[in-house]
Symmetry: C2
C-alpha cells in the first residue's frame, strides 16, 4: 500500500494524493473525494519513515530517563508528552536503567531516528556524551548537567539547598544519627548528591551519618535500610534519595518491629503521589516535575516555523513538605 497504488486507483498522480493527505494547496473537491475513497478502500497508511526522510523533519522529540518506573521521571515524561502532542509532535521515550551503555545506545537510536529535539533526563550523563550532543544541530535540554549555548539548555535543581532543609528539619527534631539511602548510580565516590548530604551533616556538631545504596526501587530502599540497621549503627532517622526508596525503607522499619516516626523518622525526595498515599504519609521535598516538563518543552518545541529559542539555564528551587513520617528523636 503506497502512494502509487492509491494514485492509480484514484486516477491521479502521487503528487495529488500527497496534497490531499497533507491538505496542502487546493485540490478540486471531486478529486479529493476520489482520493479519499481510494485511501479508505485500500486501507492505506502513509509510511512515516518515508515522509520524514523526504520532508527532512520527523516531528518527533526524544526523551531519555534513568528509570521510567519511578514516578518522578514518569511525571516529567507525561507532561512533555501531553505538551508535545498539543504541538503536533510525537515523543520517543527510552529507559536507561541508570546504565551508561544503555544511555549511549538510546542516544544513538534517537539521533538515528532524527528527532527534532532531545531531553536526556538521566543522572548518568557523562562529559564525553554531553560533548557529543553539543555538536548536534538540534535543541537539547539537559537535566542537572551541561552548560547552555545556542542549542543547549539546562535545568538545574538546587539539591544542596533541599538537603540542607531536610537535615535541618531532622536536626531540629533532635536527630543526631542519620542513615542516608541512595541508589546505585550514586556509588561514584565523588557523587554530587551524596556530597551535599555529607556537607550538610558536617556543618552540624554531633551529627553522624552512615550511607547505603541499592536499586532505585521499593525493594532497593528496603534492602538499603536493612543493611543500615544490620550494620549496628543506632540511627534515629533515614534520609532517602527519593520517595520510592523511602517507602521501601518504611517497610524495612516495620519488618524490624519498629515504628515510623516514633522510633525512626523517614524522609523522601520528589513528592510523588505515592508519598501522600503511603502510610504514614511521607515528609519529603517537592520537586515541581510539571514545571520542569513545561520548561523543557518550551525549549524543545519550536511553534511551527518559529526558530527554537536560544538555550538557557533554569534553576529550580525545591520545597520541604512535612507530613507524618518525621517526628522528635526518641
Amino acid at each position: 500500500m503506497n502512494l502509487q497504488q492509491v494514485a492509480r486507483r484514484a486516477k491521479v498522480s502521487t503528487a495529488t494524493v500527497s496534497r490531499v493527505i497533507n491538505n496542502a494547496s487546493v485540490v478540486r473537491n471531486a478529486t479529493r473525494t476520489r482520493v479519499l475513497r481510494a485511501i479508505e478502500e485500500l486501507k492505506y497508511h502513509p509510511n512515516l519513515q518515508a515522509r520524514s526522510l523526504a520532508g527532512g523533519k520527523s516531528n518527533t522529540i526524544g526523551v531519555i530517563v534513568s528509570n521510567l518506573e519511578n514516578p518522578f521521571f514518569f511525571d516529567i515524561y507525561k507532561t512533555i508528552a501531553a505538551l508535545a502532542h498539543e504541538h503536533g509532535y510525537e515523543v520517543l521515550i527510552a529507559n536507561t536503567d541508570y546504565r551508561p551503555e544503555q544511555l549511549a545506545a538510546s542516544l544513538r537510536l534517537m539521533i538515528g531516528r532524527r528527532v527534532d529535539g532531545l531531553a536526556p533526563i538521566v543522572s548518568e550523563m557523562e562529559p564525553p556524551l554531553i560533548a557529543e550532543l553539543v555538536g548536534l544541530r538540534i535543541p537539547v535540554v539537559f537535566y542537572d548537567v551541561g552548560t547552555p549555548s545556542e542549542t543547549i539548555s539546562s535545568i538545574r535543581v538546587n539539591y544542596a539547598g533541599a538537603v540542607e532543609r531536610v537535615v535541618e528539619h531532622l536536626y531540629g527534631f533532635g536527630h543526631r544519627r542519620i542513615g542516608f539511602i541512595g541508589h546505585h548510580s550514586m556509588l561514584g565516590p565523588l557523587n554530587e548528591r551524596m556530597k551535599t548530604v555529607l556537607d550538610a551533616v558536617s556543618r552540624r556538631p554531633g551529627l553522624e551519618v552512615r550511607t547505603a545504596a541499592d536499586e532505585d526501587t521499593l525493594e532497593g530502599g528496603r534492602r538499603s535500610a536493612h543493611a543500615l540497621f544490620a550494620s549496628g549503627f543506632d540511627l534515629t532517622a533515614l534520609v532517602c534519595v527519593n520517595d520510592l526508596t523511602a517507602v521501601g525503607a518504611m517497610r524495612a522499619v516495620r519488618e524490624l518491629g519498629r515504628c515510623v516516626p516514633t522510633d525512626i523518622s523517614v524522609t523522601g525526595f520528589d513528592n510523588v503521589k505515592l508519598a501522600e498515599f503511603c502510610y504514614p504519609a511521607l515528609t519529603t521535598v517537592d520537586i515541581p516535575r510539571q514545571r520542569i516538563g513545561q520548561i523543557m518543552c518550551a525549549q524543545l518545541l519550536s511553534a511551527r516555523g518559529t526558530p527554537p529559542p536560544p538555550g538557557k539555564e533554569v534553576l529550580i528551587e525545591p520545597t520541604l513538605v512535612v507530613r507524618a513520617s518525621t517526628g522528635p528523636a526518641r
Copy 2:
C-alpha cells in the same frame, strides 16, 4: 552527515560504507579502517528512517497500553522491551489513557512507522479496530480480545475465576455488603469485568454489592471509596479493580478514621510490587505479567529469518494472594 559524505571522505562508494556499517559481505581490512575513521571523524549517525525504508524492515515492535503509570502495564512493557532488545528489536511504546481516540491515533502511528509486530494491551479495544488490525500483514497479539488466526494471537486472563475466588474469600470471612471499585473505562453498562463481579455476587445468598468508578490512579481509588462511603451503603469490604486503586481506597478508609482490615477489608488485583509495600499489605490476585510479556514476545519476534509462529490463544489462570488487608467482617 550522510553515507555520501562518509564515502567521499573515505574515498570509497556508498555501497562499501554500507557494507562496513552492517558488516555484511567482506571488505578489505584497510578499506574498512578508512571507512570507520571517516565515520568517526564526521560523527556520522546512520539515518534509521532511510535504512528501514530501503531495507523494508524497521526492526521495531509496537506496544500500546492503557496506562503506563500503572505498574501492571509497565511490568509487561518492561519484560517485552528486555526480550525485544535481546533479539535486536527496538520497541515503541504508546499510552492511551483509556481513550479510544488516542488508541486509534497510536495504532495509526505504529502502522505508519511500519512496526514488525504489534501488542495492543488495552481494555478499550473495540471490534472495528480489531478488524482493522486483522487485515495487517504483521503479527499482532491482543490482550483479552480477538480471535487467533495466522497472524493474530490472543492472551486471555480468567478474570471470572479470579473474581470468584476473591468474593469467596470475602464471603467466607462473613462479608455480606461489598463495594466494588472500578475505573472509568468500565463504565459501559455491559462491561465484561463488572459483570463477572455481579455474577459472583448473585450466586451467593444475602450478598449485596454497590459499585463506583473513577480514574485508574491512587487518587481515583480514593475518590471511588469516598463516594461509596458517602452513599450510605454500610459496606464491610472493598473489592478493587487493581492494586493502585486499592491503595487509594485504603487511604480513604484511613481518612474516615476506620481501620483495614478490622473495620473494612480491601482487596486489589494484579499483585504489583506496591501491594507488598503498602500498609497493610494487600490481599490481591496475582497476574503473571512477566509470563504474559514472554508469551507476547514469542508470538511477535521471529528469530532472524524464521517465519513468525502461527497465532494462538493462551489462557492465563490468576491466583489469589492473601495478605494483611482482609479479615473477618465486624
